[in-house]
């Protein structure tokens, strides 16, 4: 089994021929616009199905496909209820430095990837694309680049990653802004079958544009505090649950993000 640290897909140590699959259910709320005037409320649930394959102890390839359910409610009680595929996400992670070959305690990795425009563009009653925040994806080819650092010192572990997404022009003439995401997670694993996580996620976005016009409620930054649990009910099955609470919101325009919850299952093939 090697390192006993419980990790979700994407955070693990590569190991030759290791294959993991996962299903993660995410829920979030979002509000855009002036309350009682032009506010739109979003309730979103995403099912993210993923597979990660490590051909060697340095490389991990992962593929993630979201299926998104969104309920968009307008102030006049109009509702749009949509089930749609999101953007397919392909990533490669390469360990570029580790302190030792066997059971490394420090890993530095580079991340590269691409989001594919597999989502559909949502439009309002007049056929105008909804704000970018309400789309299942950007509808564009979005390169991804970043780096991560992981430290394993049983029963403690630390994970830090910096990832930037560079959206290109999407279908329906949408242009999401460059997004930079910083994650820092600390984990304490008092028992081999249970770990506690606490951390922070920071995101800063450039403004987005729809048909060349700036979407006023895009851009800015937000910091979430995250609290999570990871359990190992079976040697090959891992369960995880995370709550992300918005702590600092400096989003442009009239835009407020709510609580985000994620629960998932990882199966090691």
């Amino acid at each position: 089994m090697g390192d006993p640290t419980l990790t979700v897909v994407g955070f693990e140590q590569p190991k030759g021929q290791r294959v993991r699959t996962s299903g993660t259910l995410r829920h979030r709320n979002d509000q855009i616009g002036e309350p009682q005037v032009d506010e739109l409320q979003l309730s979103e649930q995403r099912l993210e199905l993923a597979i990660a394959y490590s051909p060697t102890s340095r490389w991990t390839l992962s593929l993630m496909m979201p299926v998104v359910h969104r309920l968009v409610s307008a102030v006049n009680l109009a509702e749009t209820d949509v089930w749609a595929p999101g953007d397919l996400d392909l990533r490669a992670r390469a360990v570029v430095w580790r302190d030792r070959k066997f059971a490394p305690r420090h890993l530095v990795s580079m991340i590269g990837g691409l989001e594919f425009p597999t989502s559909t563009i949502e439009r309002d009653a007049d056929g105008v694309p909804l704000p970018l925040e309400f789309q299942a994806g950007t509808g564009s080819w979005d390169p991804i680049a970043g780096a991560s650092y992981a430290m394993f010192s049983d029963p403690w572990s630390l994970y830090v990653s910096s990832v930037a997404v560079f959206p290109t022009k999407g279908t329906a003439d949408t242009q999401a802004g460059i997004s930079f995401r910083q994650t820092a997670l600390g984990q304490f694993q008092p028992w081999h079958f249970l770990a506690f996580q606490v951390g922070a996620e920071f995101r800063i976005d450039q403004p987005g544009y729809i048909t060349g016009i700036r979407d006023p409620n895009t851009g800015g930054h937000i910091t979430y505090g995250t609290f999570g649990l990871i359990g190992l009910p079976h040697d090959k099955v891992l369960l995880h649950f995370t709550v992300a609470v918005p702590m600092i919101q400096r989003l442009d325009g009239e835009h407020e993000e709510g609580l985000a919850i994620a629960a998932g299952l990882v199966y090691e093939i």
């Binding site: 021929q17 294959v19 699959t21 009682q36 005037v37 032009d38 199905l49 993923a50 597979i51 394959y53 593929l63 993630m64 496909m65 299926v67 307008a74 102030v75 006049n76 009680l77 109009a78 509702e79 749009t80 209820d81 949509v82 089930w83 749609a84 595929p85 397919l88 594919f116 597999t118 559909t120 949502e122 009653a125 093939i269």
Partner: protein, 253 residues
């Protein structure tokens, strides 16, 4: 290895999943402008006959007024008016100016747009008459001067007792706001499609004017007042009532 390959193929296959959407309309209020049909001659209450050659009005904005905000809105009405180059649309207002050529009017409604207000009680509608901007609907080369005028009237006035005929030209450039109250208020608490017609009765614009004795400024001032008082908001139930032959207007003389 084979199972991981199958998993990856299954994920890729999911990209071809179809979108499934269900849209339900909320509260919607269709707004139409309904000018009266223009007769060849308009007979005024002072015995004059007005023959119009040009008659145009620009409605710059219509906005539903929440009952709770009525006092505030009325205060804004009496407070010094602020010049506005543009209006903005919102769920309770239409902000695209509309140039209406009353000479082409046959009494049929002109669709102005749809409001999508939140649930609330709405006690009235504010109608703002103002000069057009470049994006105004109905703006043509022939009526481009309406970018400087809220209302423009040109024609001839005949004193039916003497037979004297004088030219009539009134150019109104001010922003004119009118608050038209609903009785009873419009109450929206669930999705519904409602409609409001803003009736423009320009056959009353020349009432109360003694063209023989009043100078052009006084005539223009009275027309301005008449334009504001000629606007009415008609709801479907009002139209049904008005079309009922048994109905008698309590305000009719």
């Amino acid at each position: 290895m084979r199972s991981s390959l199958l998993s990856a193929i299954a994920l890729l296959g999911m990209t071809s999943l179809p979108q499934c959407a269900q849209v339900s309309d909320g509260i919607e209020v269709d707004v139409a402008y309904q000018p009266e049909a223009t007769p060849a001659q308009i007979r005024t209450d002072r015995g004059y006959s007005v023959r119009l050659e040009r008659a145009l009005i620009v409605i710059g904005e219509v906005e539903l007024i929440r009952c709770d905000n009525l006092v505030l809105d009325l205060w804004e009405l009496v407070a010094p008016a602020q010049a506005r180059a543009h209006s903005f649309s919102s769920p309770t207002s239409l902000g695209v100016p509309f140039v209406i050529d009353l000479m082409e009017s046959a009494g049929t409604p002109l669709f102005a747009g749809t409001l999508r207000p939140p649930p609330d009680r709405y006690c009235g509608i504010r109608v703002v008459v103002m000069p057009a901007d470049q994006d105004a609907e109905g703006l043509t080369e022939a009526n481009a001067d309406m970018m400087h005028h809220s209302v423009l009237i040109a024609g001839r006035v005949e004193d039916t007792t003497t037979g004297d005929e004088t030219p009539l030209l009134a150019r109104i450039g001010e922003v004119l706001e009118s608050e038209i109250l609903f009785d009873p208020p419009l109450v929206f608490d669930s999705p519904v499609l409602e409609s409001v017609s803003i009736q423009i009765d320009h056959t009353k614009w020349f009432d109360g004017i003694d063209f023989a004795s009043q100078d052009s400024d006084a005539v223009r001032q009275r027309i301005t007042e008449n334009v504001q008082s000629s606007l009415r908001a008609i709801l479907p139930e009002d139209e049904a009532l008005l079309s009922n032959p048994a109905y008698s207007d309590p305000f009719a003389e």
